[in-house]
Amino acid sequence: MLTILFDGVAYGMLLFVLASGLSVTLGLMNFINLAHGAFAMVGGYVTALMMNRAGVPFLATLPAAFLIPALLGVVLERTLYRRLYGASPLDQVLFTIGLVLMAMPVADFFLGDEAQQVNLPAWLSGSVTFHGVGISLYRLFIVVVCGLIAVALQLFLVKTRFGAQLRAAVDDARVADGLGINVDRIFAFAVGSGLAGLGGALAADVVGGIDPSFPVKFLVTFLIVVTIGGSNGILGALFGALLLGVLDVAGKYYVPSIGAFIIYGVMVVTLILRPQGLFARGDGR
């Protein structure tokens, strides 16, 4: 029981890191980035390839899994995304679906369509028993790493000048603009993409390897996290992700016959009752 709860929390934390970048793009730029999963896929590939082909230890690949997608994010933001700020949602959806459709065959072409496995180092692959609760070491690792990221992000948003500007811009872009607040969007985009990449790298083992269909397989899950959490804040996304993670894992364990219904059901119910998200502040304007 507690093991399942813990697995759920770990899964939720993972979802949070994967989706937090998306909630920033959505909240800050009102940009519906359906290609978010592609950045996660890149991160996963970076880790898998560095480990399997170059023999780099797992931990050492994680910074690269953050940096490379972040860099890619900057390049794409400068060349493509920025042209679509303020475009209609339909255009954004079409554009990012187009990107996903391009990313998948590219991955397939260079790396083949079989899943690239991330082989965990020995010190992460066992499990410990703590007060009678079996805890997988890797999931513990995920909880710790993702927890640290969440804390860092929250501190960053609350304590720094940039964070305050970001929050202001997310709350009301127009007023923030009028006050002369000029948020550095590239930076936010880069961090979001980097976090997605890191999430992809961490998730690779849990979801059974990274393959070219990753961006589509998890697209829906990301969107559900953001929808449930509400798109204007890190904490909302965190709670949304945890709720979803626990419900999903517990649901698949206790009532496998319902399986994936639970998360979709939760999403639809959430959208009916609170379209602005469960944890959003205010009335969702």
Partner: protein, 338 residues
């Protein structure tokens, strides 16, 4: 003042009447499609696919192009219609007409039930709700294998259309003709609908829902109504697909179906009804050509096309096409369809 106003109204009425008339290019279009079916029996399967995709894209055009509601879950109704027709046929009621009527009815009912969800929140919420509903239905079909055949799908045989014309592998041309007739009738209805006061109200909602509200248009009810009609159209498309291929599988509910149909509509241009049909022809032929050249990577080129389309600007392309000679009766929507 009064005289001026009535002159305006007269002009408007004359304009609406002009718009309602079937133009020569439209008639040529439909005759050409019919001729293609008759003249190219060896390509009948491909033409049938185009016709069915065209009907599916038309269903999306009703809500996206006419009303400006963005949906990523049109596959829900395609799947519902297809499974309704397939289950009916497997149960022994193999009459195709009955099949697509039931498919349309089932899709319409579910459309009516889920439409109120569209009235809340912004575009993103709508995207998510429609996507969520289609995924839920897909999962439902997956779990209820006793009814839907689960991951194996259903294989069934169809009766003859009106008891006369066999469709399916032995009668691919009949199948294409059957799809053609259904598509034409439904298109004519949609065309009429678009030009009715109801259609004009939808256009008002698309241009500015707040102002439409202020004008006294019951926007909520209009949206629910058109969503239901659109669902029924998609249901018929699903039923036709199931009947003419005599197989259904779970991928009908997939995300990529919803994305493909949106792509189809965008290629053809949203908002003037023919866009879906032209887009379907372009999409299916394009996919055929590209996948013949690079069977595994055709998606890449479709994606590249999509990105290019958005970056160059859908509106600009259609303005250009409009200037280059307005091919069909009414102009594509100016401004954004969303």
């Amino acid at each position: 003042m009064k005289a001026q106003k009535s002159a305006t109204i007269q002009r408007l009425e004359a304009h609406l009447h002009r718009r309602a008339r079937w133009r020569v290019p439209e008639i040529v279009f439909w005759v050409a499609v019919l001729a293609a079916i008759v003249a190219l029996p060896s390509r009948a399967a491909l033409i049938n696919e185009i016709l069915v995709s065209g009907l599916f894209a038309l269903s999306l055009d009703l809500i996206l192009g006419l009303t400006g509601i963005v949906s990523l879950g049109q596959a829900a109704f395609l799947g519902l219609g297809a499974y309704a027709a397939a289950i009916l046929a497997s149960a022994g009621y193999a009459d195709p007409t009955l099949g697509f009527a039931v498919g349309a009815a089932v899709a319409a009912i579910v459309g009516l039930a889920t439409a109120p969800l569209l009235l809340r929140g912004g575009d993103l919420t709508r995207l998510m709700v429609t996507l969520g509903v289609s995924l839920l239905l897909g999962e439902l079909a997956n779990r209820n294998g006793w009814l839907t055949g689960g991951a194996d799908g259903l294989n069934f045989s169809m009766g003859k259309v009106l008891g006369l014309f066999p469709i399916g592998f032995t009668g691919q041309r009949n199948a294409a003709l059957y799809s053609y007739v259904v598509l034409f009738v439904l298109f004519a209805v949609a065309r009429r609908l678009a030009q009715s006061p109801f259609g004009l109200a939808l256009a008002a909602i698309r241009e500015n829902r707040l102002r439409a509200d202020a004008l006294g248009i019951a926007t909520g009810r209009r949206i629910v109504a058109i969503y239901m009609v659109s669902a029924a159209y998609a249901g018929v498309a699903g039923a036709l697909l199931a009947q003419t291929t005599q197989i259904v599988s779970l991928d009908l509910f997939d995300f990529h179906r919803s994305a493909d149909v949106m792509l189809t509509l965008i290629i053809g241009g949203a908002g003037y009804l023919y866009g879906g049909l032209i887009g379907a022809a372009a999409f299916v032929v394009l996919r055929d050509v590209i996948s013949a050249a690079t069977p595994e990577y055709w998606e890449f080129w479709i994606g590249a096309l999509l990105v290019a389309l958005v970056l160059i600007g859908r509106v600009r392309i259609w303005d250009f096409a409009g200037r280059a000679g307005s091919v069909l009766s009414f102009k594509p929507v100016r401004g954004d369809a969303a």
